[in-house]
């Protein structure tokens, strides 16, 4: 029974348990991505510095990863740092990088134990050496795990990803002696960071903003979007379950008329 995976963390009679009981286990989203927004606002509401919000956000990351792994999602992708975030004050960028390092140091064993495959997406080449070393260690250690793939988007931009992918796809075509007309969606899709991941079914954004913010532009073409007012540091298992239940109530048509995938 799938619920058994939650037996040690979910108490009887709680809202978590009620939500878990109503989830349709055969129609789980294959891939959930989250835009983790609201750390700054959370801190401002408490009169604390922004870093305090990021700090509190780490707890939400742990909750989301743990819940995703127990649910048995194929993939969970977290938007941690965009190509635009470099514009933030240097000490904030610095703190975010150190948080990432500490997160991996502290959580890698647990991630590995849960059979999670860790990877990053984005132009990680421009991150600091000690952060990259930590990322590589985690990626290598978990490379052969067969459970959920946890992708952390770092120095990630959706347009940059498409441009990088298009460039590589075209280079491949040139190498094969073909012309531009031979470029297909599949060929471009195979060059994206997410090539090995299942289709993005659900895109969650916290903190109530109605924007996609350059995240997974290509992959989100037919994703269901779920926006919650909850600020990221307050996001817990119950919020992820609510998002998934909301997703399961929707009719997904992928542009056609017939109900697909979710219609059972």
């Amino acid at each position: 029974m799938v619920l058994a995976d939650f037996a040690e963390v979910v108490k009887k009679g709680t809202r978590d348990e009620a939500l878990l009981a109503s989830i349709a286990w055969d129609r789980l989203p294959r891939h959930v991505a989250i835009i983790m927004d609201g750390n700054g606002r959370w801190a401002a509401q408490r009169g604390q510095p922004r870093i305090a919000g990021h700090r509190a956000g780490v707890e939400a990351v742990r909750a989301a990863v743990d819940t995703g792994a127990r649910l048995g999602l194929g993939a969970l992708t977290l938007y941690a740092f965009s190509t635009e975030n470099w514009k933030r004050p240097r000490f904030e960028v610095d703190a975010l990088m150190r948080m990432l390092r500490r997160y991996i140091r502290l959580e890698l064993d647990e991630i590995h134990r849960q059979n999670i495959r860790f990877q990053t997406i984005g132009r990680t080449g421009s991150l600091a050496e000690n952060v990259r070393r930590e990322i590589n260690r985690a990626t290598e250690k978990t490379a052969s795990n067969t459970g959920m793939t946890l992708s952390v988007a770092l120095n990630y931009g959706g347009r940059a990803e498409i441009v990088d992918a298009a460039r590589r796809a075209v280079e491949r075509l040139i190498a094969e002696g073909k012309d531009a007309a031979a470029l297909t969606e599949e060929k471009l899709g195979a060059e994206l960071y997410t090539a090995r991941l299942p289709e993005l079914d659900l895109l969650v954004r916290t903190s109530g903003e109605l924007r996609i913010s350059n995240f997974l532009l290509w992959q989100a073409a037919y994703s269901e979007i779920y926006v919650t007012e909850t600020l990221w540091p307050d996001f817990r298992r119950v919020h992820l379950l609510e998002a998934i239940l909301d997703y399961q109530r929707r009719d997904r048509r992928f542009g056609g008329l017939k109900l697909v995938a979710n219609a059972k």
């Binding site: 305090a52 000490f91 150190r98 500490r102």
Partner: protein
């Protein structure tokens, strides 16, 4: 006997103040109380040598340092402010002693005693407050549990192996009770504690770091212990003062952890990012 009773009362309070998230003020209060008394004992030793430490300036400096340690937070350290407090303290201690007027025969030693009391007890020991406040609850609990397990393990291991097998004196002129056999027993015990901590609650700290860290803490603990004995001996006192029944002075309790406190703090900062 009174030694065991004191330990039975203090130890659970210490453990709770480390493990229970909302009891962090209790940990700070314990540290504040013991270090205030520790500094005072240090100055009492200085007074036995005829020096006149400036207790007011010294306590003000210690309070400033303590405040800085208290406001340390993960990813935003406050410890750079120490660079502001130490010069200010130096200036005040010197200038106020000068303004008080002659005689100046012992001025160097007296101002030195004021500053050293602050540096030795508040600056070194205060790092434990920074470990409690400057890391996330879970990590700080793990680091402090590790710290006290090593310290207590090496003290206890040294005491009992020394009593059973002790033959060769370690430092007869400073602390006649200490033996090489006890020192080895303390080292072995602290390494065993590091292994125990790793498998018991701290898997995030790999053994290749936990063991050297424990070894360094053990050596610093012995050095700290001997150093405090030498200070007492120089001042012609047996115990720094009698505050905890059976435990000698508070400085005698703090001596083995003061040198290691900065080590665990900076290790945590560097290793865990």
């Amino acid at each position: 006997m009174s030694r065991i009773i004191t330990a039975l009362i203090v130890l659970p309070i210490l453990v709770a103040s480390i493990l229970v998230p909302w009891l962090s003020p209790l940990f700070v209060a314990l540290a504040l109380a013991s270090m205030t008394l520790g500094i005072y004992e240090f100055w009492l030793l200085a007074k036995r040598r005829g020096l006149k430490p400036d207790v007011v300036v010294g306590f003000a400096g210690a309070a400033a340092l303590f405040t800085i340690f208290y406001f340390d937070r993960p990813y935003e350290t406050s410890l750079l402010l120490i660079l502001f407090v130490i010069p200010a303290l130096t200036i005040f201690a010197l200038a106020l002693t000068m303004l008080r007027g002659a005689p100046f025969e012992n001025m160097i030693a007296s101002v030195g005693a004021t500053l050293l009391g602050v540096l030795y007890v508040a600056l070194l020991g205060g790092h434990l407050v920074a470990v409690r406040m400057g890391f996330e609850q879970e990590l700080s609990a793990h680091l402090l549990s590790f710290f006290f397990l090593i310290i207590m393990g090496s003290d206890t291991g040294a005491y009992y192996t020394g009593r059973m097998f002790g033959r060769h004196k370690l430092a007869p002129k400073i602390s006649p009770g200490k033996t090489w056999e006890g020192a080895v027993g303390g080292m072995v015990a602290s390494l065993l504690m590091a292994v125990a901590a790793h498998y018991w609650f701290f898997p995030e700290l790999p053994l290749k770091f936990a063991l050297p860290l424990a070894a360094a803490m053990n050596i610093l603990g012995v050095l700290g212990d001997l150093t405090e004995s030498a200070l007492k001996r120089g001042a012609g006192a047996k115990d720094a003062a009698q505050i905890l029944p059976g435990h000698g002075g508070l400085l005698d309790r703090l001596d083995s952890l003061l040198f290691s406190a900065p080590v665990i703090y900076y290790f945590g900062r560097l290793y865990f990012g």
